[in-house]
Amino acid sequence: LPSGYLVIIIDKMPRREFIGGFELLVLLALIRLGDEAYGVPIADAIAQSSGREVAQGSVYITLDRLARKGFVTSRMGEPTAERGGRAKTYFRITARGLREVRRARQTLIKLWDGVPELQRGTT
C-alpha cells in the first residue's frame, strides 16, 4: 500500500474515547434517575453527591458531548408553567454509554487497588 493509505486507515480506525470525570458523574446520575432524568434532577443529583453547586449550562454541554459520542439519547417532555411554558428534554443512557461506564469503573478499580494512600479513610 502507498504510505498515504496508511494515514487514511489510521485516521479511520475507531478511537477509544475515555470519558471525563464530569461526564462519568452525569452518566451515573442518568442511570440513577432512570426515565425521569432531565436537566434539573441531574444537576441536583450531582450537587447532592459532590456537595458542590453545578451550573445548569455545564450539565447541558456535557449531555450534548455525550450525545455526540452516542452514550445518551434524548426525548422531548411536557412543558410546565414554572418553566415558562418550555418543554423538558429527558435523557437516557444508551447500551454503549452503559458499557463505557462499566469500563470506566473497572479502570478506576484497577488503578485504585493496591495504592495504600487511596485505601485510607475509605472504610
Binding site: V40, G57, Y60, D64, T80, E82, G84, A87
Partner: protein, 220 residues
C-alpha cells in the same frame, strides 16, 4: 401555586442570546430551579453560564460560520474605521476655520481633543461604528447570533488589547513590544481604557439590539 418571576434583564438576555436545539430546555431548567432557589444572583450566574454554554456548543458545531463572522467583522471594522477617519479629517479644516471665525475655542478643543485624550467626536464615531457592526453581525448570523457575537467580541477584545498596548506604551510594554517605540504620535493620545472597554461593549450592545424581540422565544 405562585410562579416567581426571575430577574427581567437576565431573562431578556437569555431570550435574546441563548439559542440552539437544547437551549429551550436549558432555559426552562434554569427557570424551574429558580422557583426553589429564589436568588437573583444565582439566577444571573446560571443565565450567563447558560448563554455561554449555548454559544460554546454553537461555536463547536459551526466553526466555519464563526470564521466567516470574524472575517465579516474584520472587513466591516476596517471599512468603518477608514470611513470615520476620512469624515473626521474631511471636516477638520472646516471645523478649524469655523470655530476660529466664531471664537468657539472650547468646541475646537472638543473636536480636536487634547494630548492623551483623542478627539471625543472620533471616539464616539468609533463606538457608533462598533454598535452598527455588532447589529449587522447579529442580523447576518441570526440562528447563531450569540456564538457569532461572543466570538467576534472576543476577537475584538484581543484586537483592542493589541491596539491598547500600542497606544498606552508604558515602559514595560516598550521593552516587550519594541514596535511601540516607533508608534506614531497620533496613536498615543487615545485613552487605553476606552479602547479596551467601550469598543467591545459597543459591539456587544449593537449585537443585542440586532437580536430582535420577535426572534427571541417567548417566556410566559
Amino acid at each position: 401555586m405562585t410562579i416567581l418571576q426571575p430577574p427581567r434583564l437576565a431573562t431578556a438576555l437569555l431570550k435574546r442570546l441563548a439559542d440552539g436545539p437544547q437551549c429551550e430546555a436549558l432555559i426552562g431548567d434554569v427557570m424551574e430551579r429558580y422557583q426553589t432557589r429564589q436568588s437573583a444572583l444565582w439566577y444571573w450566574r446560571q443565565a450567563v453560564s447558560a448563554i455561554f454554554a449555548c454559544a460554546v456548543n454553537d461555536v463547536h458545531d459551526h466553526a466555519g460560520l464563526m470564521l466567516r463572522a470574524i472575517a465579516v467583522w474584520y472587513v466591516l471594522a476596517w471599512i468603518a474605521g477608514r470611513s470615520a477617519m476620512s469624515v473626521y479629517q474631511g471636516l477638520g479644516l472646516w471645523m478649524w476655520n469655523w470655530t476660529v471665525a466664531h471664537d468657539l475655542d472650547r468646541l475646537r478643543v472638543l473636536w480636536f481633543g487634547r494630548p492623551h485624550w483623542q478627539s471625543p467626536p472620533f471616539l464616539l464615531m468609533t463606538c457608533v461604528n462598533q454598535l452598527v457592526i455588532g447589529w449587522i453581525i447579529a442580523r447576518l448570523h441570526r440562528p447563531h447570533r450569540a456564538a457569532a457575537l461572543l466570538t467576534c467580541g472576543a476577537v475584538s477584545l484581543f484586537y483592542s488589547i493589541g491596539v491598547g498596548l500600542f497606544i498606552f506604551q508604558p515602559r514595560t510594554v516598550q521593552l516587550l513590544f519594541p514596535v511601540a517605540l516607533i508608534a506614531t504620535p497620533v496613536m498615543r493620545i487615545s485613552p487605553v481604557l476606552f479602547v479596551l472597554i467601550c469598543v467591545p461593549v459597543s459591539f456587544l450592545l449593537g449585537g443585542l439590539l440586532g437580536s430582535s424581540r420577535s426572534e427571541a422565544r417567548s417566556v410566559a
